[in-house]
Amino acid sequence: MPSLTWYLTLSAVLFTTGVVGVLTRRNALIIFMSIELMLNAVNLTFIAFSAFLGDGRGQIVVFFVMAVAAAEAAVGLAIVIALFRNRRTVDINDVNVLKW
């Protein structure tokens, strides 16, 4: 049986993959997917602790994270569509009105 450390390390690797994706990619859709990757890494941590500590509340938190992720997907993709409609691009380097 894999120990808790293995699951946590895997989760850390997946989270870091998402962080690197957000930092390196400029496509808004791929940044969006990297955020989903990070959310899933955190979910894995919650599930692992829930199963190893025998507490079901961790899985409830994962349930709410999934609800928030669904809401985030709907709103985020609507923003991407509105952005593409106004600017004809999803490259976030072209969206720099707020850049100082």
């Binding site: 894999p2 390390t9 850390a12 990757l37 899933n40 500590l53 025998g54 669904a70 609507a78 509105a82």
Partner: protein, 220 residues
């Protein structure tokens, strides 16, 4: 005729390692409730091999998750990224199952790999994007900075995990198979967490309205 050569291998006693190992894993927890799998299997393989089977499941699914995760952030086409992300979610669902979280594993497949990723794929195909990075250098400086920052974050994570690992429980909890069922989750959700549950429904309603308003054809 070659058709007669096709012989179907019967699913014999030595041909179903997965079911057998499930019965072994369940037998670790005396309080488990699911007897469907354990009733139909017999343990004929010594336990030492079965422990490596669950480790094998972890290794295969975690390698799939890491590789597809890296592919998600390295493919230039957003469509390929989305397809690899679906694979990543499926690998994570297998990991949830290996942690006895059956309800969350099913939700992961239905909500994440099903609903959310279908929405993402729909948007990608709606926008019909060209490949990005055609005007950039081959290896921009932000890639180096991002990878260095990511390595630093990973280092901090792993150091923290190892530093705290002395206090971790060494095996799955005794009631791990029970807390992952939909009845246990529903019991917690509608008893202790009913207010956050209602808040989540309001949040989803607000997200629906916001998405419709944002993606409307014209802004007033």
């Amino acid at each position: 005729m070659k058709r007669k050569r096709i012989a179907y291998r019967p699913v014999g006693d030595d041909f179903s390692p997965m079911l057998i190992s499930t019965s072994y894993d369940m037998s670790l927890f005396p309080g488990h409730t699911s007897s469907i799998l354990t009733g139909t299997t017999r343990s004929i393989i010594p336990p030492a091999r079965l422990v490596t089977f669950s480790t094998l499941v972890f290794l295969v699914s975690s390698a799939t998750a890491v590789v597809t995760g890296i592919l998600v952030i390295t493919r230039s086409s957003a469509l390929h990224s989305a397809l690899f992300l679906i694979l990543n979610f499926l690998a994570l669902a297998v990991l949830y199952l290996s942690l006895q979280a059956q309800f969350i594993a099913v939700i992961q497949v239905i909500v994440y790999a099903g609903a959310i990723m279908v929405l993402v794929l729909f948007v990608i195909m709606l926008l019909n994007l060209r490949e990005e990075n055609h005007r950039c250098r081959s290896f921009p400086r932000r890639h180096l900075a991002g990878i260095l920052l990511g390595a630093g974050i990973l280092l901090i994570f792993v150091q923290a995990i190892i530093a705290a690992s002395v206090s971790y429980p060494s095996s799955l909890a005794r009631n791990a198979a029970e807390i992952g069922t939909s009845s246990a989750i529903g019991d917690l959700l509608y008893r202790s967490f009913v207010f956050p549950f209602e808040m989540a429904s309001i949040l989803l309603l607000a997200a629906i309205v916001g998405a419709v308003v944002l993606a409307k054809k014209r802004f007033p």
